[in-house]
Each structure stands twice: as structure tokens, then as C-alpha cells.
Symmetry: C2
């Protein structure tokens, strides 16, 4: 169907404001790597209108790509023709139940707005990540987002109590009441979580809330080796349990880059660094003392405890500016990987020499969420500029991913597969698993209209 005819027919059930021109705000991905194409962007103002759109596209064989805040890092929300379905107008906070410790929201609600609504109700919604000011809950669910608080609160998957989903044929599946226990047949909810917009359009979700922290203690600890950092993590998990909220690993090189960029001196000198944070829902004066005594008692004395909120902010700025500061190194090939925590040191020790042998002068920035085993493993090739870097991507990825797999890890920890890694899926999932995924996809989307060519190889 021609674009103008599509628009004419959409106008039968969508208002003018719900059908807009496709421009780079929608077509170009966050990393500016992919520019897609779409006849129109539709922004339904109600769940019913999402159903109208999907039924229409199902009947006429029109491709649909759902998109939240367009902050994805693997190109999963880049359209390849047909309609781009933006959830941005479905952005209400629907309800909060304090008794159930749950919030129910539209899928297009921006993560930060959900955090704020929870805070206004005296609760915490713990998902926290760099793009929280613009990413949307539906996208967070579709890619099973991770971020800074996974160690304590889990990934997005762990925070979802119920979903409302419009299927490719326009039918609605709705299970939003906040039930903490419910085992009635196969758990389809978890199929949609992490499906990257290929199985249905998430339009609403009920999410877990938590008590707000009343006490926060933050420390920066220098260690000689990653193994020492892992030993510290292990000791702290036994002693402080869920009070341990964040446990970030930073290499000396990453710290030096960020300190220089941030104009903040590195807190301590060491080959490896840990930024860790404890929180407690009960206000208590002695948590800092307990932490300090604990670190000294276990020989981690190359450490600084934040003595004020501004000192705490400085420590976090050093961690958060790593991404920005490394841009001076040139074009990068980045990796979103995880390995079992007890093998992180092994991975780093075997992968770096392999890369250095293959690419003389390669620079590697290692940092990430050691508390859950995931690393941002970013590589910079000397003298390679802009998109030139992609010609080396396969070769670099092969070395990195082979070493990840040798350490029983995953090539996609918290950013998803999208169109960046789907050719790697057969290396990490067996034929029978991929056949089952295809059967599920075919059952729900027989015309392969919904976000085709993403996730599956």
C-alpha cells in the first residue's frame, strides 16, 4: 500500500496528531549508526488505538517497528519500512498501590517520571541507568534493562509484576493486577520481557516498588587485582547482604581518563578500583563506621569513604564520566558482556593479550558492574576514525566473544541483541532453542510484520 493511502486509511481511527512525518528523531538510533526508513510515525493516544493500528497492519501486511525513547544501543528500534509505532503519547502513571508495593504505568512513561512518581508516594523504583531521562518503561522491559542497581534489585525482568501487550493481530493480553504469586500455565510474561519488540507491543506494566533508602554510605577502594575486588565483593555480600547496592569496577586507565576529563583527582592510586555503595531503609548513624571497620579489618585500607553528599557525587561523577571521557581515544567498538563473577579476572587476563596481539596499540577501557558480573569492555583502535571502525568490528568482536564464551559468559548482558548481534545468536543458543523461538514468533506474528530481522538470526 502506498504511503498516502496508508495515511488516508489510518485517519479513519487516528487523529491527525497521531500520524506524523518520520524524521531523524525517530529514524536515527542513539549511537548514530543506523538510519532507518518509515512511511509514517504513528503515536497512538490510547491502547485501543494501538490495537486499531496493529489490526490494520495485520490485515494489510504492513511492517511495524515499536519504539520507546529511542535510546537503545543495538539498533532494535530502527524501522525498515512500514510504520514506526511510538509509545510516547501513552505516558500516564496509572495507579499506585502501597499495600501491594506496586505501580502501574503506561509503557511510554519515561523512566525518570516513574522514579519520581514512586518517590512522591514514599517508595523507590530502583531501575537506574544513563538514559533514564528519556528512555521509556516499555523499552526498558523489551530489552530487559540493567543499570546500576541490579546487584540489589535485579534487572527489569525482576521488577515486572504484570504486563499489558497488544499482539501483532491487534488482540490484547492484559495481566496488570499486582500479583506476587501466580502460576497459571506457561509464563508468557517473560517471553515478552527481553523480546525487543518482536512479539507484541507492550502498552502497560505493573512494577515492583521498594522502601526508600534512609542511609547511604559510599566508598572508593583501590585494589591490586580484579581477584581482590571479587574477594571484597564476596565478603561484603556475606556481611552486608542486600544493603550492598552498587559494586562497580574501574580500571586505572579508565579512572585516569575520567579524572582528567572531570577535573577531579582520583581518590586513591591502584591498578584497579571499586566504587561501592551501601543503603539502608532504616536511618542509622553507624553504617559508615561499620563499613570503615570492615574494610580495615579485611585489609582493604587503600580506601576513601565519602564524608559528605558532595564527596559522594564526586565519586559517582568519576564513574559516570568514563563513557564521555573515553571519546578522546577515538572511535570505539564497545561490548556489553557478562561472565560469572569468579571468572571476570580470567576473562580480562586472557582477552587483553589476544586483542593486543591482533591489533598493535589497541586501547582497552574496562569498567562495569562487577557486582553482577557485567562489564563494559570498550576497545579503541589507534588512528581509526568514525565509521571506519566498523570494518574492524567483526575481527574485534570475534576475539572478545570467543574469550567471553570460553569463560562461560554472555555476549549480551543488558543492551539486548537488536540488529548488532543477531548473527551471534546461534553461538549462544542451540538450534532447538532458536527453532522454538521461531515457532513462538510465527505463532504470534505469522506474517513476520513486527520488527522483522531483529533479535533472531
Amino acid at each position: 500500500m502506498q504511503a498516502q493511502e496508508i495515511k488516508r486509511q489510518l485517519q479513519a481511527f487516528l487523529s491527525g496528531a497521531e500520524i506524523i512525518e518520520a524524521d531523524d528523531a525517530f529514524l536515527l538510533d542513539q549511537r548514530r549508526r543506523y538510519r532507518g526508513r518509515a512511511d509514517w510515525v504513528v503515536q497512538p493516544a490510547s491502547v485501543e488505538n494501538v490495537q486499531h493500528v496493529m489490526r490494520f497492519c495485520f490485515e494489510h501486511g504492513i511492517a511495524v517497528t515499536p519504539q520507546g525513547g529511542n535510546t537503545g544501543l543495538c539498533g532494535a528500534a530502527v524501522p525498515d519500512g512500514g510504520l514506526l509505532l511510538s509509545l510516547s503519547r501513552l505516558n500516564r502513571i496509572r495507579s499506585i498501590s502501597l499495600a501491594d508495593n506496586a505501580i502501574t504505568v503506561d509503557a511510554g512513561a519515561v523512566l525518570q517520571n516513574v522514579q519520581q512518581a514512586a518517590a512522591e508516594a514514599g517508595r523507590l523504583f530502583p531501575l537506574s541507568l544513563a538514559s533514564e531521562g528519556s528512555c521509556q518503561i516499555g523499552g526498558n522491559i523489551a530489552c530487559n534493562a540493567g543499570g546500576l542497581n541490579v546487584l540489589r534489585y535485579g534487572t527489569m525482568r525482576d521488577l515486572v509484576l504484570g504486563l499489558e501487550v497488544v499482539l501483532p493481530n491487534g488482540e490484547l493480553i492484559s495481566h496488570l493486577p499486582p500479583l506476587h504469586k501466580n502460576t497459571t500455565g506457561y509464563d508468557l510474561r517473560h517471553l515478552f520481557i527481553g523480546s525487543e519488540g518482536t512479539l507484541g507491543i507492550i502498552t502497560g506494566a505493573s512494577l515492583k516498588l521498594f522502601a526508600q533508602p534512609q542511609t547511604t554510605e559510599t566508598a572508593w577502594v583501590g585494589v591490586a587485582t580484579i581477584s581482590q575486588a571479587v574477594a571484597l565483593l564476596t565478603l561484603m555480600q556475606a556481611e552486608f547482604a542486600e544493603r550492598l547496592c552498587s559494586f562497580e569496577l574501574v580500571s586505572r586507565f579508565a579512572l585516569d581518563l575520567s579524572a582528567d576529563f572531570s577535573k577531579i583527582a582520583g581518590p586513591v592510586d591502584a591498578p584497579w578500583h571499586v566504587l561501592l555503595e551501601l543503603t539502608d531503609s532504616v536511618a542509622r548513624d553507624d553504617l559508615g563506621d561499620l563499613l570503615a571497620e570492615f574494610l580495615v579489618a579485611h585489609g582493604f585500607d587503600n580506601a576513601v569513604l565519602a564524608q559528605s553528599e558532595s564527596e559522594r557525587q564526586n565519586l559517582w561523577t568519576l564513574r559516570e564520566n568514563i563513557s564521555a571521557s573515553q571519546r578522546n581515544l577515538g572511535a570505539s567498538i564497545k561490548h556489553d558482556i557478562a561472565v560469572p563473577i569468579e571468572r571476570v579476572a580470567e576473562f580480562v587476563e586472557r582477552c587483553a593479550p589476544a586483542l593486543q596481539t591482533a591489533f598493535a596499540g589497541i586501547q582497552i577501557v574496562v569498567f562495569g558492574h562487577l557486582g553482577d558480573g557485567s562489564l563494559h569492555y570498550n576497545t579503541f583502535l589507534p588512528g581509526v576514525l568514525g565509521n571506519e571502525v566498523y570494518q574492524y568490528e567483526d575481527a574485534v568482536n570475534t576475539i572478545v566473544y570467543e574469550n567471553v564464551l570460553a569463560c562461560a559468559g554472555t555476549i549480551a548482558a543488558e543492551h539486548g541483541i537488536g540488529q548488532v548481534k543477531n548473527q551471534w545468536l546461534p553461538r549462544v543458543r542451540s538450534e532447538v532453542e532458536i527453532a522454538l523461538m521461531r515457532a513462538i514468533k510465527a505463532e504470534l506474528d505469522p506474517g513476520n510484520l513486527l520488527n522483522a530481522n531483529k533479535l533472531l538470526p
Copy 2:
């Protein structure tokens, strides 16, 4: 194929000890409601032998019913011909990684042994339920078991990091390394969790561990209404967060029965009762004082705090003996239901009069895990004995479940569907959802050989 011929062919790859006669220990379910039939019980001693058995049955069209500790409450592990596949000989603790806070075990490991292995390593495996001395991890996963600690630690689903599964055709899917973040395609793990042995044979699992509690404070609180109990829960979750481990509701009638049976005086007099427990991974002397002050400050002064471990045990005995004490009331029709916590009071207030109108003299024992919204709602019909009770089951269930559904609840909170509730599945899952479940089942088990007629209607 005749039973003797099946045995002859099985002997090609199984030892004599792995093929045994089927007796009531395997054929009769925990509630002594269903007696199944099977040609043989096979108890493979290795995962490879599970694969051999499944390949053999797949090729010859022989039905297979997997079974763990045979403690299920919905008849999901009762065989209907063919082979009963017992996981009992696959009972090793495979490994523990303290860095990853994870334990990897065979599916046939008894829950209590997993708890003990964790404790010996200085960690907690938190799943805890009445049958923990004989139920097996594979069964806990297959029915997504709940129990006493869900409020803090989640259901079994939340505790599984990775699975090893033998598919109906004998193929192995194995993802056991303890990855806390991993988003590589549709999450098939969560399909097997809660699938009640209909999609594959779970042979191994990696599970989350937690810090051991160092401090425990237990209180029994009398309240006038369920709404007051919910108000207390809400206040405590904001104040004590994850320290709140258990929050059990007990009706006056249930307490009276149990107090009489247990020869322990009820701690307080009130229409409704709450048994709650706080734990802390850090040893601290002031948690009991904090709890006492908190209860007084919020007007919950009809309360008793356990002052010793024996007082604590008495409180828990009162809770745990409810099931045994109610047997004096006669034959029962029991329900494993959950509703949103803010609607528990509404459910109880509307369901009891409806039952009393339909069945004069009906007695209702209400207790359960209010902290996660699930109730054991047990009904006793006067003068009805033994299996006679089942002729009233449909009528009682209809009233209970209609009221559950009117309150946005679930008919299966933590015991599963099995063969007891599958005719109700179309009331709680839509046609398109059940069609997708059937497609998943057909893809993995085209001959419908694995635990047929369970879970799906």
C-alpha cells in the same frame, strides 16, 4: 510396546537399579486423591541416561511423567501409563560459587539438602515450605513453589539463575553458569519454570544464594480487621523494607483450632492475627526494640514479641499446625489463591457469605501469606466424609474462584494447575494465550508424550 519389551530395551542403556516396579510411593499423590499407573519407574543415575530414556520414548511413542519428591498438591506428577521418570538418583550438589552467590545442583536434590549445603558454605538458600524434607528442587522449579519467604526472596522463579533441561526428543539445553544478566533472545528458562513437567525434564539448576540472617525478631499481633493487617504490612514495608521476611495472616478460628491442637495458648485475643518476622544479615541488638517501638507508635499494641528462641518456636508452631489441626473438621476442599493485597479484605468479606448461603454450616479456615497476597482458603462441609467431598468440589470452587476473579486474583498461587485446575485455565488465560501455550508444547513435544493432560485444558 508391551511392558516387558520396554524393560528389555531399556536395559540396553540403564542398569537394573535404574528400572524398578511402580508402587504407591510413586503412583499415589500426596493428597491420596489420584492413583496413577505406569509400566515402570525409571530412576536414571545420570543426565545422559535421562537423555537415553527420552530419546527411546520419543522414538517409540511412549508416555513419560517426570516426578520429584511426589509432594505436589495438584496431581501434576501422577502418571497415566508409560514410564514414570523419577529424578531421585540425580541428587548431587554440583558446585557453589561464593563470588557469584550461587549454588548448582541436580534437579533431584531434596530442598532441605540444598538449604544445608548453602548453610555449610555460610549462605542462605531461602525457599522454605512444609514439604522441604522430601520435595525436590526440580519439582519446586516445575511448579514455581512459594512458601514462607516469598515476601523477601521471591518465589522459586526468582531464585533460578540457570537451568539444564532434557527435551522430549532427548536433546539437552544447558545454561547453568550463574549469570545475573543475560538477554540473548526469548527467555526460555521461564517457560520451563512453572511448566509442571510438560515441556521437558529439568535435570539441573543454578540457584541464587543470600547472606545468612544474624538477627531474627518475631512478633504476633492481634488486629480487628484484615484491613488493619494490610495497613500494618504497608507501614512495615516502608520502614523495614527487605528485613520483613514473613507476614502471615491467621483467622481467630484458625488460631483457636491450632492452639487447641498444639496445646499452646493463643498469644493474644483478636478477630485476626499476624505472625511477622524480621531478619537482618548484620548482628544488631536493637532490632527488637525498634520493632516494639514501631508497633506501639502505630497503635498495634495487642502484640507479643518472642523473647527467646522457644517462644519464637511456639509462635511458628501455632502457624504451622493449622493444617494438621483443621483435619478434625472433616474432609476439606482447599484453595491456593492470591489476590492483590489491597483486595484481600474485600475477597474474604464477599466470599464467606456466598459460601454460607450456598452451603449452610460450611466452616472456613483462612490463613496464608498476606505479605504476598496468597491465602490458603480451606472449606469444610458439615457431615461430609472422605472422598464424598469431591462431589461438592465444583460448586464450592465455582463460588470461591468467581470471587477471586472478581477481585482480580489468581486461582493458582503457589501449587500449580496440574490436573485439578486445568479446566479453569480458559477462565484466567485468553484463547490466544492458550493457543500460544499449545504451540510451544507442540513444538517441543509433537507426540504429546510428556505429562499429557496436565496444566493445559
